[in-house]
């Protein structure tokens, strides 16, 4: 044991110095969600952005809309639930950050065609800030 201890200490120090990496083919562990379980940030600016594009009365075309009755608090709740429980993937087309998608099993809004949407897509940047979130 006395001989093993210096070797173990060296190993732990080296491992922490170089960091622990996961093979590219391995799934990210659940604790890595939103970058090591850190809280996501939903800024007022992001709320305004979502209201402009995706609120029930928004005139923006080609964008999913939330159901009438949505509030800022219920939006925050939807986003937090989607990030906590949804499937995560890298953002696409070379964009930085991650995408979370979660099916609430009930309509939360409409798709761009006006059909009921039960899923939410949340885009989070590399600093855990929500960029946008909309029903799909």
């Amino acid at each position: 044991m006395r001989l093993l201890r210096p070797w173990l200490i060296s190993f732990v120090l080296l491992a922490s110095f170089f960091g622990v990496s996961y093979p590219a083919s391995a799934q990210r562990p659940a604790s890595a969600r939103a970058d090591a379980g850190q809280q996501i940030i939903i800024s007022e600016r992001t709320i305004h952005h979502i209201q402009d594009r995706h609120w029930p009365d928004s005139p923006a075309q080609g964008a999913g809309k939330y159901s009438p009755g949505i509030t800022v608090q219920s939006l925050r709740d939807l986003i937090n639930e989607a990030v906590a429980n949804g499937r995560s993937r890298s953002n696409t087309n070379g964009r930085p950050g991650r995408i979370y998608e979660y099916d609430f099993g009930r309509p939360i809004g409409t798709t761009i065609n006006g059909n009921p949407a039960s899923r939410l897509r949340v885009v989070v940047n590399s600093r855990n800030q929500v960029v946008t979130a909309f029903p799909i």
Binding site: G62, T92, G94, R95, F134
Partner: protein, 150 residues
């Protein structure tokens, strides 16, 4: 194939310091407008006013680079909806379809790449002229596509 854009005058450039905004901001909230994509008989344009056009052409350039073999397929996801543009290399052509419109566009790969470069050069010049702060943004300056390079 016509590939062009119309910048919206409604995007909130006044609320952003374009000289310092980061890549995510540039790809989601800058240079918003309409995408114009059509041929003589098919129109896949997305006239929604909010499409981030720098992001669009960067993504399209990446997609073009991956369509280098027969049978290859790629998807462009719009930033604010589940709408998609789908690209496939079939029979020596790039075949483009959309989730939000009927029809297919077919274009030779070399012409597809040429149109992308023309789009990028045009919008790069337009936004750098209209918004001088953007021209000094270090992320924007790193995107050589806007200088006509791939």
């Amino acid at each position: 194939m016509n590939l062009d854009y119309q910048l919206s005058d409604e995007w909130e450039e006044d609320s952003l310091d374009l000289s310092t905004v980061d890549e995510t901001e540039l790809r989601y909230n800058v240079a918003l407008g309409d995408l114009l994509l059509s041929s003589n008989d098919v129109d896949l344009s997305a006239r929604w006013g909010w499409i981030p056009l720098l992001d669009f052409v960067l993504a399209l350039n990446e997609i073009a680079g991956k369509l280098d073999q027969e049978g290859a397929e790629e998807v462009f996801e719009f930033t604010e909806s589940s709408a998609e543009l789908r690209f496939a290399r079939l029979g020596g052509k790039i075949v483009i379809s959309a989730s939000y419109a009927e029809g297919e566009l077919k274009v030779a790969p070399t012409l597809f790449e040429k149109r992308i470069r023309e789009f990028a050069t045009k919008i790069g010049k337009e936004v750098a002229t209209k918004f001088p702060g953007l021209a000094t943004n270090k992320v924007f300056k790193q995107w050589s596509l806007f200088e006509g390079k791939r």
